[in-house]
Amino acid sequence: DTGASGSAGGGTPQRGGTITFGTTGEPDSWDLHVAASSIAAVALRAVYDSLVNEKPDGTFEPWLAKSWTVSPDGLRYTFTLRQDVTFSDGTKFNSQAVKANFDHIAAPATASRNAATLIGPYLRTETPDPYTAVVVFSAPYSPFLGAASTPFLGFHSPAVLSANPAGIASGGRNVVSTGPFTFASVQAGQQAVFNRRPGYAWAPRSAPNLGESYLDGYTVRFLPTDAARVGALTSGQLDVADQVPATSVAQLRSSPSTTLDSRDNVGAPFTYALNVTKAPFDDPNVRVAIQSAVDTDSITKGLFQGVYERAWSVLTPSTPGYATSVEHTWGYDPAKAKKLLDAAGYTGTDSQGYRTKGGQRLSVGLIYASSFTTAEQLNYHTALKDALKQAGVELVLRPLDTAAVVQAFSTGDYHFGAYSLSTPDGSLLRETFYSKDLPSAGGSNVSRVADPQLDGWLDQALATQDVTARDTLYGKVQQRVLAQAFALPTYVGKRIFGVQSRVHGFALDVQNLPHFERVWVS
């Protein structure tokens, strides 16, 4: 765990100063209830508070909620709220504010992209008194505490919500919340500026800084080009660079003025889902052949210069619920791929060296949204294409605009879909392999698996509050997914931050989000 390490040391915190944080781009929306991208969460974590705080060990502690209880049927979460919390516009934080916000997330008009998923089978919020909020679900929803600890379920000021909810998306002074910083201004395509919120005093108990932030403010700069971000860090234009590319790690390590702070991604590694409803991926032989045809080890090592590890499972190793038992149960085996494809009937060869069956080329398509695909991912697509070509399988890359990707995902017109997801725990497996969680229903079951066995285990896992039992069930799921080759996990990305040595206390929480209120500069 490198989360608290890195640049934590260095004497007593000093007040004052600002830092510049370079990230990969601009959020799709500054309204966390709407936004899909994690950049919004990174930039705004220090502007929003959550009901509860997830600690490094995976347990939760009070934050804006002093305490909470869950009804035995798992349908009702009752939060008792702190009474000293105010929004930066002066509005009091109370149960009405919770209700207004959660209703806003759930409302279809909000067109929420991430928060609506996080809030699960939300029914309503009851407000028996100003400081008690009861969140009611239509079905048991055990991941809710985890969800509530993310900034996506943070709180806008009710004043803003009633006056100008659409304006929140454009950021700046429209964003008003309870956190240790306020959103001062934003310049599209360039940067967003945040200032210290005076009088902040409701940090979670385990936080290193319980009061106002040390920094006067921080600036988030949007720098999509990896090279520019790294260059800016080395030249001192940035204090912290987000998402340092693996290929720059060696160079930055040798630089005395910067340190690196890295975390394995939590959630799903970069994974290719094989659409089992679409021929030839309805044939397990073909799927396993594909799985065996790709040398993820070498590709990952070369492309990322040994900085990233290859993935063994559809969860990353640091995700709660990861099953070490799947390691080394599958992998690159060209002979096996050959045998399986022969068995599947693809025995012919055409002029370009691709396998054929009945004169039909073995050709599959990979769809992706061109505007949301990073260079690293695109490189992996390219490598996959070549690896499959070696096995006689043609891979057609199909970059689409976002709407078309959504369309294809909902109709199932694709062979491969690629994703990497960040979710704090194994519940992700349900989202990605549960039969009802098809993309058209808002889920991420891109493999379109409808497997009674998986469904059964996942249902049980959802219902149980027993962590060990749940992890066992998740283990079974992972084993089956890989044995059936529903998906091809590739590499475990790392979130690598480059930090100037004058910056202290920069650390990521369990959700890989920075807490700027804990940072100070010398």
Partner: protein
């Protein structure tokens, strides 16, 4: 009305007509090809929610007859309303206002640097010996052949990543302007220097240069009083071309240097098919072009008296 004023007014009217044409063409091109405008507005997740489409169509006026949409567009453009960005959900005018300055800064500094470099190079080498002119024209040819975006990449690799003399990104202050300016200015300087030198030599070989020399004028006086003015005339003609190159080049150079500006905004908008932003930038460019052209046209008679009276 004095002829000069009438001339300027006529040019201005022509410019406005061109601009109107540009707006019209963009509008109809966008509507003709833009069946997926609503998809673009709704974005990935909401695109398939049923009622929403009609709602959005109504909100953006996309349900009205084409001609009404067109007139609305003209009307709002007249009021400085450039439309609404689908992708960023913001007025385009506001989006642009934040990005115009860095681009302007870059284009202006590249224009000035390119022009000065060209004049220096041309004056220093015009009419010199074979070697000097050979070297100069080789340099110019190279400058012309090297694409500004690649030049930018090389400059970055050398001066920013290796030598660390200049920052790698951003639009803060003069240091961050140096490399992009060079990348943009050198190719233009190459072309301009070629033209300038040829025109200088051409003017120098004209009979009036001989008679000026025969009057006892020194070389420097001849350059300042006579030949340079002649050489600058075609450069004025080329200002429109240079401007187009500057704007086009800025888009790419900004991308290479991760500079904020219209370029990055535009490219982003193209990728997301945010047609209101794309057409606004394009129209803005056309506006700048038309204004610059009109100014250049109005400059001719100032520089060249032969064009003052229209005898034909």
């Amino acid at each position: 009305m004095p002829p000069a004023l009438r001339f300027v007014l006529r040019r201005a009217a022509g410019g406005i007509a061109v601009l109107w044409g540009a707006v019209t063409v963009t509008f109809f091109a966008v509507t003709a090809a833009g069946g997926d405008q609503i998809d673009a507005i709704l974005g990935p997740d909401a695109a398939n929610l049923p009622g929403l489409r009609a709602q959005v169509a109504a909100q953006y006026g996309l349900n009205k007859p084409l001609i009404v949409q067109y007139l609305n567009r003209l009307w709002s453009l007249l009021h400085g309303d450039l439309g609404w960005s689908y992708q960023r959900n913001e007025p385009v005018a506001r989006l642009l206002s934040g990005q115009v300055l860095p681009t302007l800064e870059l284009a202006a500094s590249a224009a000035v640097v390119g022009f000065l470099l060209a004049v220096l190079l041309a004056v220093a080498t015009a009419g010199r010996g074979r070697l000097a002119r050979g070297l100069a024209s080789l340099a110019e040819l190279l400058a012309v052949a090297v694409p500004s975006f690649w030049l930018g990449i090389v400059l970055l690799a050398v001066f920013s990543f290796t030598l660390r003399w200049f920052p790698a990104f951003g639009a803060a202050g003069v240091p961050s302007l140096v490399l992009p300016t060079l990348a943009l200015a050198l190719p233009i300087a190459g072309v301009l220097a070629q033209v300038l030198r040829q025109e200088l030599e051409l003017a120098d070989s004209k009979p009036f240069a001989l008679s000026a020399r025969a009057r006892g004028l020194g070389e420097r006086t001849l350059l300042v009083r006579h030949t340079l003015r002649h050489a600058l005339l075609p450069v004025t003609t080329m200002s429109a071309w240079a401007l187009g190159t500057l704007i086009g080049g800025a888009v790419l150079v900004e991308q290479v240097f991760s500079r904020p500006g219209l370029g990055s905004l535009l490219v982003d908008a193209v990728k997301h098919r945010d047609t209101p932003v794309v057409s606004a930038v394009v129209i803005l460019a056309a506006l700048v072009f038309v204004v610059a052209n009109t100014v250049a046209d109005a400059m001719y008679p100032v520089i060249d008296a032969r064009l003052r009276v229209s005898t034909t």
